[in-house]
């Protein structure tokens, strides 16, 4: 019998202070690329702040913040090609923005409007998946489609730590392993599934080791180190494109926010724990590295913050100025062609909306 390998590697390029602790991958030797990553992190956090403010003032629906986890999402998306397909969970605002989903589309989605999923940019990307982990099999299907067509594309599925307890995820990773499809599963391990800490989620020492049972490579990465995340996802994607099959990547980060705006984490989580994790958050880390490398300074920082705030404010204004869809929109796209029942119900809904009976 062959021995199973249980040792997972763990990658970190920058330590929490932004000091180089590992070899810089090729992309990170280009200062422009590093600034681009930093901008994406800052834009994501600026969006996050605005989204919470809008929710608190009744102008956005329940919103899932990505505070502290921006590097997982941005690093993952930055590793992808535009022709790859992202299958996000629901904290991938940063990755979605990187891939060309607009700020306005994000506001529309979280504001309760399906048009937020009609991405003008990445047309083949999946919308957010709220039923936890249930999108993992879709990634296998998308990846299988690429292989059947002989395309050098890959599917990237982001799930949370809680999703690793779901059967869908186990089924998907197992099937991906059997068929060696070009799929990469990225776990945003932020330590908490609403009120359930990782220790109550699984007895497994790491989440990356769940790859062992699926017969696929699994590894950990510092999820607060955007350079490391991008690097390991790039390598996994390169293997996928070569026909070497799927990879599971556990990006270890921390949820500095509540689960969503409907949650109050103080009910189950010690504030001290949150404070202890703040020094490791991803933005300061990269900023320190950029500053130490002479690429960044205060004035550039101020200009970037202003630029991001302007873009977010503009998008929020655009979203707020967008009227809701008419009632007829409910009945569109249920089927390619509406059934007789739907046409009748649509007419009734429109009549009611127009004050008829």
């Amino acid at each position: 019998m062959a021995d199973a390998a249980f040792a997972n590697s763990s990658t970190r390029v920058l330590d929490p202070d932004g000091k180089l602790v590992g070899p810089l991958p090729a992309f990170a030797r280009d200062p422009g690329e590093l600034v681009r990553l930093y901008r994406a992190l800052v834009l994501t956090r600026t969006f996050d702040t605005k989204a919470i403010a809008l929710q608190r003032t009744g102008r956005l629906g329940t919103y899932a913040s990505s505070l502290g986890q921006e590097a997982v999402s941005v690093g993952t998306a930055a590793a992808m090609q535009p022709t790859d397909v992202l299958l996000p969970s629901f904290r991938e605002h940063g990755g979605q923005l990187w891939r060309g989903v607009t700020l306005k589309e994000l506001f529309l989605f979280w504001g309760g409007d399906e048009r937020g999923n009609d991405f003008a940019g990445p047309r083949a990307d999946f919308p957010n998946c709220l039923p936890v982990g249930s999108h993992a099999p879709h990634a296998v299907g998308v990846a299988l489609a690429f292989r059947l067509r002989g395309e050098r594309r890959a599917a990237v599925c982001v799930i949370g730590d809680g999703a690793t307890s779901k059967g869908d995820v186990a089924e998907a990773m197992n099937m991906a392993g059997v068929w060696k499809v070009p799929a990469v599963f990225v776990i945003n391990n932020n330590g908490w599934a609403i009120s359930v800490p990782l220790a109550k989620q699984t007895a497994a020492v790491t989440l990356a080791q769940k790859a062992v049972a699926a017969g696929i490579p699994g590894e950990q990465v510092d999820g607060n180190d955007v350079i490391a995340v991008r690097s390991v996802v790039e390598q996994a994607l390169a293997r996928a494109r070569q026909g070497d099959g799927p990879t599971l990547i556990e990006a270890v980060t921390y949820r500095l926010c509540d689960h969503t705006t409907a949650d109050d984490a103080s009910r189950y989580r010690d504030d001290g724990e949150v404070s202890r994790h703040w020094p490791a958050e991803p933005l300061v880390r990269l900023r320190n590295f950029l500053t130490q490398s002479g690429i960044w300074d205060k004035s550039k920082e101020e200009a970037l913050l202003q630029e991001c705030r302007r873009a977010v404010e503009q998008a929020a204004d655009d979203y707020l100025a967008t009227p809701p869809q008419p009632p007829a929109a409910m009945f569109e796209n249920v089927y390619a062609d509406p059934s007789a029942d739907l046409i009748e119900q649509r007419d009734a809904a429109m009549s009611r909306a127009q004050g008829g009976t």
């Binding site: 039923p131 099999p137 007789a340």
Partner: protein, 326 residues
């Protein structure tokens, strides 16, 4: 023209669909080398290879989920769930994803997939192999639900389901798989979804059914004919979306309605049909609507199964009661 059983007609339709569209991919448990436990996919792997006919691990949720990913990428997956009793772990995928991918992306992505499965009782199968979950699927917006009742109709309906643009749950009556053969013209002609089929015209009472129970309905109609009662037989064929016009039109002429289905009574699909007729055809009704259904029990083990299944006598009793009502 060849004489085919229903399962052979399914096989012929699958073969035809794979031949005409390279995007048609078959996946499921034992569908490849083994050709499916009922042989519905027999020979397809040999013809089209392991890339397009995929034996899957035992993972029903992922079979449905992988199909969604393929469909979103423009393929037309036809997935087999080995028995409808194993389809319940697909409900999350069907309800939360397949059915609504088009709506929630405003048409950017869609899900043209078919989930085939044997359903229904009468074959003395072990537990979990004989239920009729039709109404449960029909309750899900965005899904289409199709139940064939003969080899010819299975062939045409399955082709249309595969060629369509929306997710279809295709429930194949296990009892009919090998029950009878008929001439099936493998000409690639689809039978449109969303239309009830009037299988036998009649002036006195409308009997509405679908799937395997069509057999009991027709046998009852033949007995009723000897009593000078003309029973019109309507095969619903597509439960979702429902063609209620054909049923209402028939009841407008006959004034009497008997609905026959194998699934339990409460919240069964017969309730939907009864409600439609009560809502839109009440003034045509000359008698209360009759429902002949399975009981609100578990589907019993095979030794008791005959006591569960509605039979010709039940249909006759209901039709005669309806005729006698004044």
């Amino acid at each position: 023209m060849t004489e085919l059983s229903l399962v052979q007609a399914i096989n012929a339709a699958l073969k035809r669909a794979m031949q005409e569209d390279a995007g048609v991919v078959i996946l499921g448990e034992d569908v490849g080398v083994d050709g499916g436990v009922f042989r519905a996919t027999d020979g397809l792997m040999q013809l089209y290879g392991g890339q397009r006919v995929l034996d899957t691990p035992i993972a029903e949720a992922a079979i449905a989920g992988v199909s969604i990913g393929l469909a979103a990428q423009g393929f037309h997956p036809v997935a087999e769930i080995q028995f409808s009793g194993f389809a319940y772990s697909c409900i999350d995928q069907l309800l939360n994803h397949a059915s609504r991918l088009r709506t929630r992306t405003r048409g950017r992505l869609s899900c043209p997939m078919v989930l085939r499965m044997p359903a229904g009782g009468g074959i003395k199968a072990v537990e979990h192999h004989s239920e009729s979950p039709d109404a449960m699927f029909a309750h899900i917006p965005g899904l289409k639900v199709v139940v064939p009742s003969s080899p010819t109709r299975a062939y045409g309906l399955l082709l249309s389901a595969i060629r369509g643009s929306d997710p279809v749950v295709f429930l194949e009556p296990t009892r009919l798989y090998r029950a009878a053969r008929e001439e099936v013209s493998d000409d690639g002609a689809g039978l449109p979804l969303g239309r009830c089929l009037v299988l036998r015209p009649g002036r006195d009472v409308t009997i509405v059914s679908w799937g395997a129970m069509i057999k009991e309905a027709i046998e009852a109609a033949e007995v009723l004919a000897t009593e000078d009662v003309g029973a019109e037989i309507i095969d619903v064929a597509t439960l979702k979306p429902l063609d209620s016009a054909t049923i209402l039109d028939s009841v407008a002429r006959t004034g009497r309605l008997v609905i026959v289905h194998e699934a339990p009574m409460t919240c069964g699909y017969g309730a939907e049909i009864a409600a439609r007729v009560a809502g839109r055809g009440l003034t045509s009704l000359l008698a209360p609507i009759e429902r002949v259904t399975g009981f609100d029990t578990m589907m019993p083990y095979p030794r008791t199964e005959p006591h569960y299944m509605p039979n010709v006598g039940d249909v006759l009793t209901a039709a005669r009661r309806s005729m006698a009502y004044t």
